[in-house]
């Protein structure tokens, strides 16, 4: 990662995501939007997939966006961004694009990325468009009222994976979206959260710089109070704990090399520094029904995932 911001005092002041948007109080994705726009700066076109961030920010005739912004539909943000990027390239070559170098950023939720938008994302990555794709992951379809997605963790309650007598929560594990993206051999992909803002903004900068070469990808964990069922003030805490418990590892894929970032790198090196997963689970209503055995199972899966990523980092260092 290129370190553009060394300390939080280096972070940009100008707001390009305006107040007055209609996201819920304590919305994690809204924090992500503020910092994506700040780090990207005004010479940026945003393409947003249908979802919470689109619906809460663009209620006609008011918009929170201070960047040129396009929403087309739920599953095709990557395709629309491909078109914009291609347009800028040709228009620039023909002397018809006056704005100079312009970033193209997709912002899409987990539903719009893991599930319905996966094909368009893969197409965009495979074709090598100079676009930064940002997935804000709140781990369910929140806009339609908390339905499970491919990003919802195992055993979590959602309205389509209720805790019943026969089946208790989601049966499947969370999909490895980073693995899918890395399989496209893009120049750069990384995970981040809204708690680790310096890490996140530097990754945005890095990813944007690498779009010179081709597509880049960021997976940002962005907790959602109503969807995860925790008190609003805990949004940042929830993202921080997700990293500190090893549930959501911070790492980068940079030109074929895999690198764990702090604090994940420290946790992986010294498991004693890892907080118990239970600390994170117990704060969330969506996991309230978990038995000790289920928690132990999830804890083992977290450890296995950390071991897998450590091995990857070692093999591709």
């Amino acid at each position: 990662m290129k370190v553009v911001y060394r300390a939080i005092w280096d972070l940009p002041v100008e707001e390009l995501f305006a107040s007055g948007h209609r996201a819920c109080a304590g919305c994690g994705p809204a924090i992500a939007m503020r910092w994506i726009t700040k780090a990207a700066g005004p010479n940026t076109i945003v393409v947003n997939a249908t979802g919470c961030m689109e619906v809460t920010t663009t209620q006609y005739p008011e918009t929170a966006w201070m960047l040129p912004y396009l929403h087309v539909a739920f599953e095709n943000a990557a395709a629309a961004a491909s078109g914009i990027e291609a347009a800028i390239r040709t228009l620039s070559a023909k002397g018809l694009w006056r704005a100079g170098k312009t970033n193209v950023i997709v912002i899409a939720g987990d539903g719009g990325t893991y599930d319905i938008g996966l094909q368009a994302l893969s197409g965009m990555l495979e074709r090598g468009h100079h676009v930064l794709y940002i997935l804000y992951d709140n781990e369910a379809y929140m806009n339609t009222g908390i339905q499970r997605s491919g990003a919802t963790p195992k055993y979590a309650w959602t309205t389509t994976t209720p805790v019943g007598k026969a089946i208790r929560g989601k049966v499947q594990e969370k999909k490895d979206i980073m693995g899918i993206v890395m399989a496209h051999r893009v120049p750069y992909a990384a995970t981040a959260t809204i708690a680790n803002l310096l890490d996140m903004t530097n990754k945005i900068k890095t990813a944007l710089e690498y779009t010179e070469e081709g597509p880049t990808f960021l997976h940002i964990l962005a907790p959602c109070p109503p969807g995860w069922r925790y008190p609003e003030e805990l949004t940042v805490e929830m993202a921080r704990l997700a990293v500190e418990t090893g549930y959501f590892p911070l790492y980068e894929y940079d030109h074929g090399k895999v690198r764990l970032n702090p604090p994940t790198s420290q946790i992986a090196a010294d498991p004693k520094r890892k907080k118990p997963l239970r600390d994170w689970l117990k704060l969330q209503g969506r996991f309230a029904h978990l038995t000790d055995a289920e928690i132990a199972e999830l804890e083992r899966e977290v450890a296995a995932n950390l071991a897998y990523l450590s091995a990857l980092a070692k093999a591709f260092s």
Binding site: P68, L70, V72, A73, S82, G83, A86, A87, E126
Partner: protein
């Protein structure tokens, strides 16, 4: 001949082209910036020809090899929003896959142009021609032209850019899958410099994405606003007929060919009129008129060159006062009060004007079932024999 006309005549070139190649040549002449296409029979040869143009350096454009038609339409929506002149083409299942985004293209008022060699829809899967795909796009807010020759395909696509960029609505140019898409005809090509002069760039529209003016496109509208925004599409689409006429007239002045919005054949004293669209139906209809007249029936034919917006005045003018008419549809409006989609519109256009000429809905050429001139002659005979107000499934093995 003026010097200018002479120069133009010299620059003109006549090639033997399929309608698909004619479409590709037209897109090249229009100097499109971004093309996003996905192959499907019978559209594929357009993609191939365009790929050749781009790879040979004859067309300075980005060709996006999208992974689906849904993405093809989405990519041209993005590109058009950023100010690029765009082109795409599809058929059948591809057009169905695009369907969601077709509404968005018109709702965002983007001047996209698309070629559609029309094909039947699954299931059962059929690669052959009919107009089921095009008819399914009826309410998407697209201006839809239906051409009847390769030359007209070429000319209509160039005109389509004029129309789209002045009305700010997307335009589809449809034509017969296979019967036209894969049939070679002589096509006179314009001097590309002249075409580009005729299609000046418009980089001043309000719905442009650029950091110079950060607007929001694709907003979310509550009941207080949604209706008005959609009504604007309706108004623009209905009003576009004048622009279609104007573009066709201006094109005629510049390049010597124009078509009108409906074409008529021997209508002057006709008692019975067959309304048709697309190349094969139109060819059959005209020959059938001649044959029917030899058999003593005062027959005439009318071709719709514009399907959306429906040219109601022109059709009503032609059909008012005749004894009866038939519409030959190459699509089935499943479960509708009459079988043919264009027939339904035609009847509505007449009744809305208080005209009560009786009609007959004829379905033919489904999945490219062979249509013979004699079938069309039979339609005239049925009309003369008093067949009215019903649907005839012609060519069906009953």
């Amino acid at each position: 001949m003026t010097v200018a006309l002479e120069a133009r005549a010299k620059a003109k070139q006549t090639l033997a082209l399929t309608s698909n190649y004619a479409a590709a040549y037209a897109a090249k002449a229009a100097d499109v910036d971004v093309i996003a296409v996905y192959p499907i029979t019978p559209q594929t040869t357009i993609v191939e020809k365009i790929s050749e143009f781009v790879d040979e350096g004859e067309l300075r454009a980005q060709l996006i090899h999208v992974e689906s038609e849904h993405s093809a339409m989405s990519a041209v929506v993005g590109a058009a929003a950023a100010g690029a002149r765009t082109f795409t083409a599809t058929s059948s299942q591809g057009l169905e896959l695009m369907h969601e985004v077709l509404h968005i293209a018109s709702g965002l008022r983007l001047p996209i142009v698309m070629a559609v060699p029309a094909r039947a829809l699954s299931a059962p899967i059929s690669i052959h021609g009919d107009y089921s795909d095009v008819m399914n796009t009826r309410d998407t807010g697209w201006i839809t032209l239906i051409a009847a020759s390769a030359q007209e395909v070429y000319d209509s696509i160039i005109q389509a850019y004029r129309i789209a960029e002045s009305v700010l609505l997307p335009v589809m140019v449809a034509y017969d899958g296979f019967l036209m898409s894969h049939t070679t005809e002589a096509v006179e090509l314009n001097d590309e410099e002249e075409v580009r002069k005729w299609l000046p760039r418009r980089l001043d529209r309000p719905n442009l994405l650029t950091p110079e003016k950060p607007i929001t496109m694709g907003a979310f509208a509550m009941p207080d606003y949604y209706y008005e925004i959609k009504y604007q599409v309706q108004e623009a689409l209905l009003g576009s007929l004048d622009k279609v006429v104007e573009a066709d007239r201006e094109y005629g002045k510049a390049f010597g060919r124009s078509y009108g919005i409906v074409q008529s054949y021997r209508l002057e004293d006709a008692d019975y009129i067959v309304v048709a669209y697309g190349g094969a139906s139109w060819g059959n209809a005209r020959e059938a008129v001649d044959e029917a007249r030899r058999r003593g029936i005062k027959a005439g034919a009318l071709r719709l060159r514009v399907w959306r917006p429906y040219p109601a005045e022109e059709v009503a003018k032609a059909l008012a006062g005749v004894k009866a008419f038939a519409v030959v549809d190459r699509a089935i409006a499943f479960g509708a009060p009459a079988g043919g989609p264009v027939y339904i519109d035609t009847v509505t256009a007449l009744r809305m004007r208080g005209i009560d000429t009786p009609g007959l809905s004829v379905i033919h050429g489904i999945g490219q079932r062979s249509m013979f001139v004699e079938d069309f002659v039979k339609v005239f005979e049925m009309l003369k024999d008093g067949e009215r107000n019903k649907t005839v499934y012609m060519g069906l093995k009953l």
